[in-house]
Symmetry: C2
């Protein structure tokens, strides 16, 4: 396989660092790796592919040399809005992890296990979906292919790493302060996250939903190519460092018995079923860290609906929820 | 008001201690307070009503003197099964916080804001419902009275105090060990609870549900006197010390617009609405500690159903979820 030049933009963030790690672990054929970030991180070095790579400042000329084939972007939505189009104009295929382009009609929103064919329609930018959406659609895809999903009621348990490295540090320092009976400062989160759950991710919209909840609804429609799926979501930040969990309730067009659902999920792409209640085995956030799969368990018939199922879906939000999914999209073009 | 003799059985546990505190705070007319517990706690003293009260060992003769009018029980289900009937035979009105009697037809299961009239039908024992059930039915009652509730899909975020004092200590010690990079031991919980969520409360049943999930379904039917409400539940333990939160999705017979629902909830008994998304105001577990109310917020139209609503329900599981509800039942008999 011929090697190509790759850039990671937002290389020093939680997702950026995971992107570098994932490129290495998957032996992505990188010729030259360029790491770009804001001026604050300029001059830092990060170990990648056995070398110390210096972080460069992202600026308008970063892509002028037209030497980069693929750039994985995760610098925050505002920065992506400016620099992803600049990169694309210079012939770079941008895979952007922010929310900047996800809902634009001309930008494919891709989960390789679900809609890889959409990637080919790109015009320079491909969007990586929101972390909580990715793991849900990976889990739902094999069921949907068996019987259309009519309705989804989802409640999430999202780790702080979804809000970045500073948020992880805030959970740690708040927890230390709590245990020492010291004052707790909330900066990244609106309130204390240590030993507390916050039903508030992203800004609030007029209809009372948060941006995160809206993303789960709209992105699922776009990825699944089915805007008739009725979806409601409640997204909650929990005091967990890495890994999102989701309590997913679905109703399907035809009844899918639990045993059949487990069979379908076991054959599903990117999925691992952990479902042995008699041995107290089910997916856990602490177990998913650093793993590639979306884990599904606690499969049960919905006692409130004839064609309903409940399940518990867990994945590493920095990997499948972000970095891994982006790298998998890049791999579609090798 | 004439004073009466009261006993607290299981007085040294997390709920027992809260029962004593609640009796004091509500100025319950206690003449003599007897504190009973297992032999391990015999001889301990607990401050109550300005005195040091010695803890007595619970045994078969504890109620022989027929001097106790009301006993609040929270010693664990197995102990209640033996001693609550003995107490009742000796003329004591037992208000039992365990699951031992809840589903027995002749035992009323009472939430004073919802079905106070059931209390009068007791034959010596009244059961206090499960914590996660109590706060949900308090929140649903005013809506139900306006339009019957057809379906409930609930996912809980339950604090460790619901599993007792040892569980609270386990969260603390696991958290300390985690932060020091030391080995983590799980004893009260099947896995690490520090920085992790466990979708497992109570034992697993054959249908894949846990006992806790089954309680939410069956107890709600009994308290609401409506077994036609279709209910499914996913109950999850989260690393929070005190306070349960619930993501509740309901469908009603007639549509209840959000504004109307908020109006109804504001007039509801034992409820407080905190719902100002524009100011980032919603109920939080850390804020409910020590408070009596059930807090409701994040009221939204369900985007997946024409007659659906989402809400976020939070309460102190040791108070309204246990001790306070028991004392309120006792107050019905003053």
């Amino acid at each position: 396989m011929s090697k190509i030049n790759v850039a990671v933009v937002g290389a020093t963030g939680a997702v950026g660092r995971e992107m570098i790690k994932t490129l290495e672990q998957r032996k992505f054929p990188v010729k030259n790796l360029r790491l770009l970030a804001s001026s604050r991180s300029k001059g830092l070095t990060i170990q990648a592919f056995g070398k110390d790579v210096e972080v460069e400042e992202l600026n308008k000329d970063s892509f002028n040399k037209k030497d980069i084939r693929i750039a994985l972007f995760s610098p925050g939505s505002k920065v992506s809005k400016i620099f992803a189009p600049l990169a694309a104009e210079n012939g770079v295929l941008v895979i952007d992890n922010t929310s900047a382009f996800r809902m634009m009609e001309e930008v494919p929103l891709v989960v390789p296990e679900v809609n890889p064919e959409d990637a080919k329609k790109h015009k320079g930018i491909i969007a990586n979906p929101n972390c909580s959406t990715i793991q849900m659609v990976v889990a739902l895809k094999p069921l949907y292919d068996h019987s259309r999903i009519r309705r989804i009621v989802v409640t999430t348990f999202q780790s702080v790493s979804g809000a970045g490295l500073k948020a992880m540090n805030e959970l740690r320092s708040q927890t230390e302060n709590y245990l020492k009976n010291e004052k707790i400062k909330a900066e990244k989160f609106p309130y204390q996250i240590a030993f507390n759950c916050l039903p508030h991710i992203g800004d609030f919209l007029e209809n009372g939903y948060t941006q995160e909840e809206e993303k789960m609804i709209k992105e699922t429609h776009k990825i699944m190519h089915d805007s008739e799926i009725k979806i409601t979501a409640t997204t909650v930040r929990v005091p967990v460092f890495i890994g999102h969990a989701e309590s997913v309730n679905i109703e399907t067009q035809e009844k899918i018995p639990v045993n059949k659902a487990i069979q379908l999920l076991k054959k599903g792409k990117g999925l691992k079923v952990i479902d042995n209640p008699e041995k107290s085995e089910y997916p856990l956030q602490i177990d998913c860290e650093g793993k590639d799969e979306v884990f599904v368990g606690r499969l049960r018939e919905d006692t409130s609906s004839e064609k309903g199922l409940n399940m518990w879906v867990v994945s590493d939000n920095l990997r499948k929820g972000a970095a891994l999914n982006a790298v998998q999209i890049a791999e579609l073009f090798l």
